[in-house]
Amino acid sequence: MIRYALGRLTSLVISLFVASIVIFGVIEVIPGDPAAFMLGVNARPDTIAALRAEMGLDQSVVTRYFDWVTGLLRGDFGQSWTYKTPVAELINDRIWVSLPLAIYALILSTLIAFPAGIYAASRRGGPGDVTIMGATQLGVAIPNFWFAMILVLIFAINLRWFSAGGFPGWSDPLQAIKSLTLPAIALALPQAAILARVMRSSLLDMLGEDFIRTARAKGLSRRQALWRHAVRNALIPVLTIIGLQFSFLLAGGIIIEQVFFLPGLGRLIFQSISARDLIVVESVVMLLVFTVIIVNFAVDLAYAAVDPRLRAKT
């Protein structure tokens, strides 16, 4: 297990290193002069010079890269040119919308998918299975931002159960959770559809295994064999998908935040893109990619903890 973990850790560090070079390269090297790019064609030369000095553009690319990375490691994400505040503060204000939204959606998606997948597998070919599988086909095909608009139309505009958008802050946790509910449902549904399909097919694979037949031969009912043996083993592939989904939920949240006017990382990115504030875009993108890589690393480890065969292989 320790050797496996060390191996994964090495590839984690390499991935983070390469990802940081790619992001730095796209944002700071490809535009030529990032300062001139950020300020646009009408900028005065002295303004450009000031920004160049502030961004440290007079130094070599290598020095700038190392300054940026060591800054990130210390939690210093640089200074936003448009907001005139540290990027870390901007992120800190908004991550408490984006992260809870992704986690909320992940919980909802799991809560919907597990029972649906297990039920469909246990009633294979029956009307319940067919209905659930039909529903997942629709769930996979629905654009989540459109589904979000439909939710707003029904539950905010017509029924007035929820507000159509905005975020009241965490001072009243109940209101905060309520305002994240429609966005979380919109995010969760397509993912739940995928997860339910994976759960069902993984469970069906398990139900065909010898150890299930043995369990049945020992006198366990179908239901007992399913719950005691099949579900536990079927969870292994499902776990990977959940890990992958977290990154989709975090990135997908960027779009859903637009529908509900939530002040999260997504809005920060779009405002920064239109203001050409590359410093903010660079750090937020790095943060997103960093999170995805870390989560995948954690999933790999969890996977190995659950399935001893994997540890032996490496």
Binding site: V26, S247, A251
Partner: protein, 271 residues
């Protein structure tokens, strides 16, 4: 042929036909504004109603189908053109440093969700349909590379490959002449699925303004325009949404149907 295959093929063909028809005929000109006639409901002179500029929604759906299909198709093409050779190469050099490099490179691209790639590209190059194609296309490369490698590896163990090697064929020739034909079905099925994901991705990118720019019609942009109108003119949001839903549903059913029809044994990773 299964029911899935028939329904999926009919839905997909319907939208392809709409897009093709838009090159020669649309009910109205989508660049002609007719403000007095704005936000008309469906069923009147305009079959699917009009938007906030009085433009005919059916015509915009037809033009939007063209954008969606073009973007998704080219993105799948990029993914196949680069991903399949990379996967074949990795399989042919299985266990080598090259194989390891290709697979780790794939993992790295997967760490950038396509939306994040799109954000990086548009932050520097600006928003356009071409940049949307590149963003979706880059994300497709590791999908095809991984699938190709996974399907090619067991083939390399087979006797007919051994026979080809004994004949003195190079790894490149074996990959092209013997491996590739045996994985074509799998690629077609995955291509259909990536095509449907591409339609969804294009709609999402256009919705947030990172995709096709005005005056190019796009389903995602129609939804963005409809967002503030949804309470007074729900059809402006419902029609493009259903267009996306039906097109994606059709392609998914087609993919499933093709998979069962072409070869019941193959399994496609649907993530």
């Amino acid at each position: 042929m299964s029911r899935n295959l028939i329904i999926g093929a009919l839905l997909s063909l319907f939208f392809l036909a709409l897009a093709a028809l838009s090159f020669v005929w649309t009910p109205n000109d989508i660049e002609a504004l007719d403000i007095p006639n704005k936000l008309q409901g469906p069923g009147g002179a305009n079959l699917l109603g009009t938007d906030h500029f009085g433009r005919d929604i059916l015509s915009m759906i037809m033009m939007g189908a063209r954008t969606s299909i073009a973007v998704a198709l080219v993105a799948v093409g990029i993914g196949m053109a680069l991903g399949i050779p990379l996967g074949l190469l990795a399989a042919a050099r299985h266990g080598s440093l090259l194989d390891e490099l290709i697979m780790r490179g794939n993992d790295l691209v997967f760490a950038f969700p396509s939306l994040v790639i799109a954000i990086l590209i548009t932050a520097v190059f600006g928003a356009s349909a071409v940049n949307a194609i590149i963003a979706i296309g880059i994300f497709n490369i590791p999908v095809f590379a991984r699938l190709t490698r996974g399907a090619a590896l067991p083939l390399w163990e087979r006797d007919f490959i051994l026979a080809a090697r004994v004949c003195g064929k190079s790894a490149a020739r074996i990959s092209a002449e013997h491996i590739l034909p045996n994985i074509t079905n799998l690629m077609i099925v995955q291509g259909t699925i990536q095509f449907s994901l591409g339609i969804l991705a294009e709609a999402a990118l256009s919705y947030i303004g990172l995709g096709a720019q005005p005056p190019t019609a796009s389903w995602g942009r129609m939804l963005a325009d409809a967002q503030t109108l949804v309470s007074i003119a729900p059809h402006t949001a419902l029609v493009p949404g259903f267009a996306i839903l039906l097109m994606v549903l059709g392609l998914n059913l087609l993919g499933d149907g093709l998979r069962d029809w072409l070869d019941p044994r193959i399994r496609v990773a649907r993530v």
